[in-house]
Amino acid sequence: MNDGKVDWHGNIVAVATPFTRDGAIDEVKYTANIELVLSEGAHGIAVCGCTGEAWSVTPEERLHLFRLARGAAGKDVPIIGGTSGIDIGKVSELSKAAVEAGCDGALVMPPYYAVIGERELLAFFRDLSDNAQVPVFLYNMPKRTGINMPPELIARISAMEWIVALKQSSHDFAELETTIDACGDLINVFAGHSAERGYAAVVMGCMGFVSSMEAQIMGREAISLYDLAKAGKVEEGRRVQARTIALDKGMRKIGTFPSNMKAAMNLLGRPGGYCRRPLLDLDESETAQVRKVLDGLGLLQAEAAQ
């Protein structure tokens, strides 16, 4: 329940975790990327989400990344740290530690792989709220977890003390609207898939969205989407959204996210870096396809002109 605990809103960018070719964290690129997206208008950042390849970052590394992010972002920018896992004891501990390391809250999705039921989900988040006692940004991500929390269940979880926000990444737009209706008065509802529907989501009452590919590839132009929606600039908003959709559709077919995003960032001279196993970096032909998508959007010329 967000009874004044947090004031999260706007375009929160889920940042990449750039690795070196041999899999070490590239701290220089990591902080450069955070500084860059903030300078381009991001209202906050999410560290160690799916975009940050959370699955291959150890808890100790995550805490280190949280500290680095706070250092790069300064004290006023909201930072949400991804602390998901299957073991609820560890998730609670890491969430608490995340806030001690400088985060404003913890991004947590249902346990993946162990496909659990509603009663078990309620127990999971109840334990998290009771034991961590830090602001929790709930994350509904059916594609990756195999669990789609329906809006009524999310509303029951939203009533828990420390659950203050939600990233709704169910693809169904009506489900996003139903979610806003079911618990928008209890918690701050954010949309996922902003490249496809960020403008419409804000118009329908989302407090913002958690963006990823479009923000880190297109920079200022895509990040502005939230402000355009808030300002009611329909035509400009529609134009930007059409371009983020084209980007999203073009990239979706190439490699595995976020290896495709990182390749695009690198081609544009942005600090993307490399992936960590089990993900592989794009091969030559995939990279050529990415180049084509960027070129089709005129992004390579913009880069060359700088």
Binding site: W55, V115, R119, R277
Partner: protein, 307 residues
């Protein structure tokens, strides 16, 4: 490629990991369950699979269970240990360590959660094979991993040196048949969901089952399905299959898999124990439903007679 590395076959129950009410591993029940299943005709066991709540087990706990299982099973029965997770390096390391526990092979599913592509999954298995030089049973469970290893994908994995077998748990029976056709000559194809299709799988050319509810709840009767099928005793096999199917359908929707199975085992006096979080013990209402299913199959009177 199974160029004589292993000769696995038969009914391998994927054993539960019994926990105490406060989440400790209940070694006594773990051992008792393996002894019971082997005495009832199982040809091997799979430790720390999805049935064994592998997601809730740390690496060192898994290794301790492998050692225990090896000790209980003796040299005759096959013991396969689940070593899968997401980071390729971690899986390679745990698989190497599994080799040193004396078990016969490792079961590895593709990395889940990260949405890995086919190219990445192949590279994952190749790295594990190269690092561990230890027989690997590939576990295809699209429902829990989000990755589906269809027939030609399985055939590509079958080319990897230490990939010797696959547990095909896609629900699509045609894909199971195609998998046997595509790589049954190079690796041993086991089927999952034997409670639904064990007999038909044997007819389609599967060399074994990695079984679950059917073995743990129906015991000797459920386990016999494989041998009856192989022996061509089709009337008897069909009768058993209808009962495992009724069990499987009855239990569906009553709660999370291992919780339901453990509750049923406990009701029958078998060593089930408790699940570990994030799973919860079956609720009173769920237990009532489970009891009805077991009663409908006449299992309480059997348990009574046996006792």
């Amino acid at each position: 490629m199974n160029d004589g590395k292993v000769s696995w076959g038969g009914n391998f129950p994927a054993v539960v990991t019994p926990f105490t009410a406060d989440g400790e591993i209940d070694e006594k029940k773990f051992v008792a369950n393996i002894e019971l299943l082997l005495s009832e005709g199982a040809h091997g066991v799979v430790v720390s699979g999805s049935n064994g709540e592998s997601w809730a087990l740390k690496g060192p706990e898994r290794l301790a269970l492998f050692r225990l299982a090896r000790k209980v099973a003796g040299k005759e029965a096959t013991v396969i240990g689940g070593t899968g997770s997401i980071p390729t390096g971690d899986v390679a390391e745990l698989t190497q360590a599994a080799r040193d526990t004396g078990i016969d092979g490792a079961m590895v599913m593709p990395p889940y959660y990260c949405g890995a592509s086919r190219r990445e999954v192949v590279a994952h298995f190749r790295a594990i094979s190269d690092a561990a030089s230890f027989p690997i049973l590939v576990y295809n469970s699209p429902k829990s991993t989000g990755v589906d290893i269809v027939a030609d994908f399985a055939a590509e994995l079958a080319e990897i040196d230490w990939v010797v077998a696959i547990k095909q748990s896609t629900l699509d029976f045609t894909v199971l048949e195609q998998t046997v056709a595509a790589c049954g000559d190079r690796i041993s194809v086991f089927t999952g969901h034997s409670a639904k299709r064990g007999l038909a799988s044997v007819l389609a050319g599967a060399v074994g089952f990695v079984s679950s509810l059917d073995s743990h709840v129906l015991g000797r009767e459920g386990i016999s399905l494989f041998e009856r099928s192989v022996a061509g005793d089709y009337d008897a096999a069909r009768a058993v299959q209808m009962r495992t199917l009724a069990l499987d359908r009855g239990m569906a929707g009553l709660g999370s898999g291992p919780s339901v199975m453990k509750a049923a085992m406990n009701m029958l006096g078998r060593p089930g124990g408790f699940p570990r979080r994030p799973l919860l013990e079956a609720s009173a209402a769920e237990k009532e439903g489970i009891r009805r299913v077991l009663d409908g199959l006449g299992l309480f009177s059997q348990a009574h007679h046996a006792a």
